[in-house]
Symmetry: C2
Subunit: 654 residues, 2 copies
């Protein structure tokens, strides 16, 4: 690895390092020169420059002018003078609220890094046949260069740099002061982007929403209220809570997203995923040239490969469940033959083993699902995410809850259900906290020490803060997105909403878990992982639907559990029929009520609806005007796109 | 009534009469002059003109130029050169597909009339304190002048004129040729507008969709297949059918509406209803001045008056139902005491009387609901319609089906259910056809003869085709919108989907009814009623939701009916419990399947989605451009609105 810094193409004094590119150690010099030239100027491709030695880590920055133009291109929404959120345009920059002077500080770090990422991702091959120096690394027009280099191991990674000062300020206000307060969501958003801020917002909201249920659950558990009259009340409360909870969250999320300017961003204009490949064609919507892949082929891959694979995994999961029940019976037999302390502890062993196996299976399946979904070649990141989430959710739901459903409705053994639920919940919480935060943190500390030692050996005591930082962060783990965090919350929501009427302490456990989760997640974002690229999310996406589906399943499950309870059965000694009919009727009424409630509560608060309608109105009025100056704009449109990709500054170690 | 024609403000040769305004016979001359001046030029208000005598029927036409500008203002979408649908703008008129020369024939009659209606409806009082000549008829700024005059009986009505030639052509291709063919939906749309064309499209689609069910139903009925195995098949087919039917209709409707340019029209920019009143304020979306009414007041009116009223009516309906059952038992008792032909006919009498009473109650309730909804003072026509439909649907559903549900699930008497269903269905069909078409037609013919006689007496044999036509049409009945027609289809859909597994012939009866319905509706539109104003509908609106709700209720009902049937019960001789559990499980699976199906089938066909996304993309790009020329447009926008309301030609009988 070669060290040292040289600056090219940029005024050093004004340079802010934003994104790091790491290439493989043995990358050919001509490939590097080619790539750097392409990044410097997408238009003027292929000019080679052999005089520099072979560095492998680059820091990319950009001029302000170019970032502002980039903000327009990615369709960033910022606050306008009149308080509404509008798409930023360079021409109209003076009319935006926080734009002063040349626009210094107008874009947050996260936004700048997002713009540069977008730039890099859309760097596409044109008429090069292969990567210079690598005759086997074929390119064809429209192929994403960065992704190609990445998939072939030439480009190892690219990631945004932390900003030490901002990070210190953020981590202080986020988790270092030990007084109860809300999370600084706006600061999180500024530093990590909207996607992550929405996750933390949801985590906080979910935890607060669970507090009343936890408060009710504690006396139920402590005083061992086996009175199922009260359980019915608890279940009904549970149902209304889960509906209102999700509906109100939609409104909160819309308010947050509007304030962050992501609510109005349109899905249809998403650039294709960096990994999306296909023959070069024309996007029917924008009319621009980009890869096209027939959706019939994708459907074939989904139905002929992915679906059978998921079914196979589900079968496997059921098989493991049956093994667990065998173990359970075996343990109970041993206990019955010789009941002492040792064997009573043995009773919990099968559940704990099963919980660990479930976690391992979930993990393995997760990788397989990601591979398959990538292979399905979805055009948009959102569509990729939807298919991945669907695959993972179906499996995780079955894997985690199948045994509980089996115990509840086939074996009808409420004692075992309670014990099994408690063991699964507690084991998976402990495992999660360890795997998610403590293990990576421990690994990271070991790595940090090694890096420091090596740096000191190489450079003596010279102060090279940027170089050291880049070196440290390059070796940090990569944060794989909010997916796993949401998944964990989804499963916790499942435990609470499906079976909490049998084990009311579940809500308490989840609240405790989530309070530590906020701190450990905050800590891992700030110090364990590389800074992630910001992701402009307008809501929690497919997870909203997932939580809603869970809450519908919860209605059915809770009603069935109530119907099964011996105390309720005692009210109808002569006939089961009447009991079942009443339970079914109540269930239908609850479901109908749920749908009506979801229908009546508007998803977006009134004042935001008005602002959105205003934007749309202006946009249509503008279209009317524009069509009249149609030809004029058409002829000036092309060159406009060519102007702004010219001045990304590049720092280069040599 | 004074007769004779005089032409003012317009070049006679190019004048096409479009809309008729009828004022009360004794209207004060100064009020007429004032109104005419206001219509001629909204801007130059109040110039009085006393020299003319007092006519009471006016024909309004317009210059082409002004209609084209009006088309832009109402946001008409027309086909662009590239085949997409775009908002029409006068400045860009040459780029639209069928625009030739000065634009003659570019707008259909129905569109022109719609534009003039919009003009008249938005004629608002400014600084006049009262209508000239009527000191008690107070006006305040923002109040719709036309609606004010109408509610006080000064303006009796205004309606679009028929176009004799087009009507002859349309009625020939629609219902006069006696060969099987699809309805000429595009012609209907051109003549009557999108709302009505969508209704006829839906009617046709619904009828075709029922044909398979009718074909299956006939052998069931003829061979008296009491085999409930097959009934279960029939019920399952029914359920899948009702879901697919509604989903596919959404796509058809989107295709039709896109082709007609109504799919992209935005709801938020609807002008307030002509009847909407409130203090003058600013619309937060458009920033224009218009009446504002606090929604809290509206909520109070809804919850404190409307809801209790509806509940009272429901109670009344149940009461009537109980009286019907008393009558039914009384008839059965008489038959049992003395079974002969007379008493066996008597068996049907209670059902027939009840069916008639139901129709009468529906009719009365309809008027009350309309009055209440009007009083709730909704800002948008669409919101008014939604509340009206909700009120009427809840009552009609209960009123029509309560007795059937009672017979099916409380009395569990399938023979009575079948008899009652058949009687209700047939009686209501006959009553509907008579009330809807034959009665108005008969009244109309009598009226026509009278008018002809009077005209001949007044004018001798002079040919005055326009005058005669206006006179005739003024006295025709007014078509009150598609509401009642949809309601009828909704109830028929209910009979078919809820109980057809008990009475499979229902589908056959509905198909037969709908075939005659197409002809009688077509006939009544062309010859019985005044031409209605066109209504730019993008779908069947709240009716889609109503039909979907009905199809969900149908799943529950059908499953319950299957569970109740003695043949199915025979499979589970030892325990009802198992049967009920299986039925409930099947019901849940069906409902889940239904929701997944509704979720998986996209509402709008792919190619139309692409076109819509394209329009939106262009519109956002245009907005970006526009914001940069913001100030320029702002300063030219005001006068633009003022320009185009100046040249409506007015014909006036004097």
């Amino acid at each position: 690895m070669q060290l040292g810094l040289s600056v090219s193409d940029s005024d050093v004094s004004s340079f802010t390092p934003l994104v790091v590119l790491e290439l493989a150690d043995d990358t050919k010099a001509e490939a590097i020169t080619w790539l750097l030239n392409r990044i410097r100027d997408k238009q003027q491709n292929g000019a080679q420059d052999d005089q520099k030695p072979n560095p492998n880590v680059f820091v990319v920055g950009s001029t302000l002018q170019r970032l502002l133009n980039g903000a327009e291109d990615v369709g960033l929404f910022k606050e306008f003078q009149d308080g509404t959120m509008r798409g930023f345009t360079y021409a109209n920059r003076e009319s935006f609220k926080d734009f002063n002077g040349d626009g210094e500080g107008f874009l947050s770090d996260a936004e700048c890094q997002y713009i540069i990422k977008h730039e890099l991702d859309t760097l596409r091959a044109k008429n090069e046949e292969h990567v210079p120096g690598y005759p086997k690394l074929k390119l064809y027009p429209g192929k994403s260069v960065v992704r190609r280099l990445q998939s072939k191991g030439v480009l190892i990674q690219y990631f945004p740099l932390h900003n030490k000062e901002d990070l210190k300020r953020l981590s202080f206000s986020w988790y270092k002061k030990f007084k109860l307060s809300l999370q600084p969501l706006d600061d999180i958003r500024h530093y990590f982007g909207e996607g992550l801020a929405l996750y933390f917002g949801f985590l906080e909201y979910f935890t607060f929403a669970l507090v009343p249920m936890a408060l009710i659950g504690i006396p139920y558990y402590l005083f061992d209220w086996e009175d199922y009259d009260k359980y019915v009340l608890f279940a009904v409360f549970n149902l209304v809570w889960s509906t209102v909870f999700l509906e109100v969250w939609k409104r909160c999320s819309a308010t947050l997203a509007y304030g962050w300017g992501t609510l109005s961003r349109k899905k249809a204009f998403e650039e294709p995923r960096a990994g999306f490949h296909g023959a070069l064609g024309f996007n029917p919507v924008t009319g621009r040239e980009e890869p096209v892949y027939p959706s019939s082929k994708r459907q074939l891959r989904i139905y002929l490969v992915s679906v059978p694979f998921v079914l196979l995994c589900l079968y496997l999961s059921f098989y493991v469940m049956m093994v667990y029940f065998d173990m359970e019976f075996w343990a109970i037999n041993i206990y019955n033959e010789n009941p002492d302390i040792a064997t009573s502890i043995l009773l919990f062993v099968p559940s704990i083993i099963y919980a660990v196996v479930i976690e391992i299976m979930n993990l393995l399946y997760r990788f397989a699902a990601e591979f398959l979904t990538d292979w399905e070649n979805h055009r948009l990141e959102s569509s990729f995410q939807n298919h991945l989430v669907l695959k993972v959710l179906v499996f995780n739901f079955v894997n985690c809850f199948a045994s509980l459903f089996y115990i509840a409705f086939v074996m009808q053994d409420m004692v075992l259900l309670r014990q099994s639920l408690a063991t699964l919940l507690i084991t998976s919480q402990i495992l999660n906290q360890v795997m998610e935060a403590f293990l990576p943190y421990w690994l990271q500390r070991r790595r940090n020490k090694k890096v420091h030692k090596r740096m000191r050996r190489l450079m003596g005591d010279k102060e090279l803060p940027l170089l050291g930082q880049v070196q440290l962060e390059t070796e940090m783990n990569t944060y794989l997105g909010t997916f796993d965090d949401y998944l964990e919350q989804f499963l916790l929501f499942g435990y609470v909403s499906l079976f909490s009427c049998v084990y009311p302490l579940a809500a308490v456990l989840v609240v405790l878990n989530n309070i530590t989760e906020v701190y450990s997640d905050a800590f891992k974002m700030c110090h364990v992982f590389k800074r992630p690229f910001s992701e402009p999310a307008m809501n929690i996406g497919v997870w909203q639907l997932a939580f809603e589906t869970m809450s519908i399943i919860a209605v059915v499950t809770n009603c069935a559990l109530i119907g099964l309870s011996p105390q309720v059965k005692a009210y109808f000694p002569e006939s089961d029929t009447q009991l079942i009919l009443i339970v079914v009727a109540i269930e239908h009424v609850l479901l109908a009520f749920k749908f009506i409630l979801a229908f009546v509560i508007p998803d977006v608060p009134k004042h935001i609806q008005v602002n959105l309608a205003k934007l749309e109105f202006d946009s249509l009025e503008a279209l009317k005007k524009r069509v009249s100056t149609h030809l004029y704009i058409e002829s000036h449109w092309g060159p406009m796109f060519l102007l702004w990709t010219q001045t990304v500054g590049i720092f280069q170690r040599s």
